[in-house]
């Protein structure tokens, strides 16, 4: 076997794989944030809690109703997305005429409530969620061992990201959405129900977070605080990528996951902060973000 600067390839590719998995979550979550921000102009601080909700709904479906992983992958995003729709109608809608910062504060408060309730009910030690039989086992690629469950997460995230990009950039619905992002009043004048579009967009962004949560459930344990620190990293990812471009969010998400994985190989102490350091550098060099438009 070959060695790379004293690092055994198993370790290197193992960490790169882990990085790619984290990157999948960054990509799906930052994509959801970008979609919501595009139309609603708010930063959805509840995103981390909604990711956690996705995992918990999957866990509840399995333990209370006996519904397995594959159905949960479809049902949990729908359920959490509907919760998101209710939240948007009840609370967030009332803030559109105000400074965007109030949206941030409101969703932060909602995140505290949701996370607090789940901490109160389930504690913070985490609940196991076993992967379905189809995802057990793995392939020996010669230079590394690739577990099927890990490969599936990356594949599923890539499919969802591509699907979202396709819908927004290539379909009529996506065209309405992009038009409403540019000028909601004009789009409304053409007879398109913009408030409904806004609600649906929020629901969809939330469903993306929940989908990531279900994907995370078998890999990490199901835990009320699983989204708390993740969402802050995703914020940094969003600042690095800039929220102007869908494809940009996806590339930045996967890319930063890989960089984080590499850091874990060569300088483990830095892996927790590398994304923030990159954010600082991007702010110095290109303040609008790698894919952002200058304002």
């Amino acid at each position: 076997m070959f060695e790379l600067i004293g690092i055994p390839p198993q370790a290197l590719f193992g960490q790169l794989l882990l990085g790619l998995i984290n990157g999948s979550f960054y990509a799906v979550l930052s994509l959801g944030l970008a979609v919501i921000f595009g139309l609603l102009n708010i930063i959805n601080f509840t995103h981390g809690a909604q990711y956690m909700l996705g995992a918990f709904v999957a866990w509840m479906l399995l333990n209370y109703l006996g519904i397995g992983y594959w159905w949960a992958l479809l049902l949990a995003p729908v359920i959490v997305g509907l919760l998101g729709v209710i939240m948007e109608r009840l609370f967030i809608r009332r803030l559109y005429h105000l400074d965007h910062l109030y949206g941030l504060l409101l969703t932060f408060g909602l995140a505290l409530i949701i996370t607090g309730i789940f901490k109160q009910q389930f504690g913070v030690s985490g609940l196991p969620y076993s992967a379905p039989a189809l995802l057990s086992g793995g392939y020996n690629l010669g230079f590394m061992y690739l577990p099927v469950s890990r490969a599936w997460v990356i594949l599923a995230s890539a499919i969802v990201c591509f699907g979202t990009w396709f819908v927004i950039e290539k379909t009529r619905l996506g065209a309405y959405l992009r038009a409403a992002t540019e000028n909601p009043t004009l789009v409304g004048a053409f007879g398109i129900n913009v408030p409904l579009l806004i609600t649906a967009t929020y629901g969809f962004g939330v469903a993306l977070a929940a989908f990531a949560g279900v994907l995370a459930a078998p890999i990490y344990s199901v835990n009320p605080i699983m989204g708390e620190n993740l969402i802050i990293v995703v914020f940094a990812v969003v600042v690095i990528g800039g929220m102007g471009s869908i494809l940009g969010s996806i590339i930045t998400g996967f890319g930063l996951g890989l960089v984080e994985g590499l850091t874990r190989v060569f300088y483990p102490e830095g892996s927790a902060v590398v994304v923030f350091v990159i954010m600082a550098i991007v702010l110095l060099v290109k303040p609008a973000g790698l894919f952002g438009r200058e304002i």
Partner: protein, 328 residues
């Protein structure tokens, strides 16, 4: 320059009824506040009062940035917490006297504020909030791993020492009056900053940034200056808290602390002088009474956030100011 035009304006005014440095109702309120705080330790638990004072100063420093600078930082725990670590370390390991320990903590917070502020003001609005939050999380991970912070344990059993080498701060009375002096000095400084020509320029920038730029103000310098001032004063609060509680821990540097100071300011009334004090008193009291209910504190804080944003954006003092038609 703004300073000169203000002087001209003041000179042009025929009669000055109120003392120029403070309207009468503010003077009365400050006097009442000071009198109340001088009597309070004889009726309430001094440690609790000192906790309120530290957080009130923290919230006021934060309000300087949000309420008067119009910049929402979601990472003020970084300055509060890092200053508390440095102050605790200086007092315990370097054996500095408390006033020097607190000063070193404040200084670190100012330097940190200068670095993060210079980067963060390159983005605006929501992005600014996210950037400050991300930097604070970086400080949190640093505190988790750095050797001098003691990781999960924090820095415990910090000696309170002798103020100026003279007054023994292990006794509650000198400690209380020391903290009161820091608090009151900090609040008056913030008051002065708000009502200075510098504060007026900040107000102009908040209301119409493009206009301020076209009038020739170096907007980013003003933003950075108020950011550093706010970070330093937050650091002063955190450093003092470390001496009072003889403890610096990860709680002070965690994002939840950044959220708490936002909540205190929002609840009390952002952009008011006395709002953050009221907000801090309410939140700290609530935490004190609900401490045994665990996660309910988080849930209630979240609920207060939601209610305050939806129904109560002026905050407690903001509403009172509206009733009395006087800026508070």
């Amino acid at each position: 320059m703004a300073g000169e035009s203000d002087v001209v304006a003041a000179a042009a005014m025929p009669t000055v009824r109120e003392p120029a440095w403070m309207p009468r109702h503010h003077l009365v309120l400050f006097a009442l506040l000071l009198a109340g705080l001088l009597v309070a330790p004889f009726m309430l638990y001094p440690i609790f009062l000192m906790k309120v004072l530290c957080f009130a100063l923290f919230a006021s420093a934060f309000n300087l940035l949000l309420g008067y600078g119009g910049l929402l930082s979601f990472g003020h725990a970084a300055y509060f917490g890092m200053a508390s670590y440095v102050s605790a370390h200086a007092a315990k390991v370097w054996g500095l006297t408390p006033e020097l320990a607190i000063l070193s903590g404040t200084l670190i917070a100012a330097v940190l504020g200068l670095v993060f502020g210079a980067l963060a003001i390159r983005r605006q609005g929501i992005y600014f909030a996210m950037v400050t939050l991300a930097f604070a999380q970086m400080v949190y991970f640093f505190s988790l791993q750095a050797p001098f912070t003691g990781g999960e344990d924090g820095i415990q059993a910090v000696p309170r020492g002798h103020l100026f080498g003279l007054f023994d701060l292990s006794r509650p009375e000198p400690l209380y009056f020391f903290v009161l002096a820091i608090f009151f000095g900090g609040i008056l400084l913030i008051y002065r900053i708000i009502h200075s020509p510098f504060g007026q320029v900040l107000k102009a920038i908040r209301q119409n940034e493009a206009r301020a730029i076209s009038l020739g103000y170096q907007v980013n310098r003003y933003k950075l200056a108020v950011f550093v001032l706010s970070a330093a004063l937050s650091g002063l609060a955190g450093a003092t808290k470390a001496i009072v509680f003889q403890l610096a821990s990860l709680t002070d540097v965690y994002w939840a602390m950044s959220g708490e100071v936002v909540l205190m300011t929002l609840l009390g009334g952002m952009g008011t002088v006395f709002g953050p004090l009221v907000g801090a008193a309410v939140i700290v009291t609530m935490q004190n009474y609900l401490a045994s209910f665990g996660d309910w504190v988080t849930i209630i804080q979240g609920a207060i956030f939601v209610i305050a944003v939806l129904l109560f954006r002026e905050g407690i003092v903001g509403v009172i100011a509206k009733w009395t038609k006087k800026p508070l």
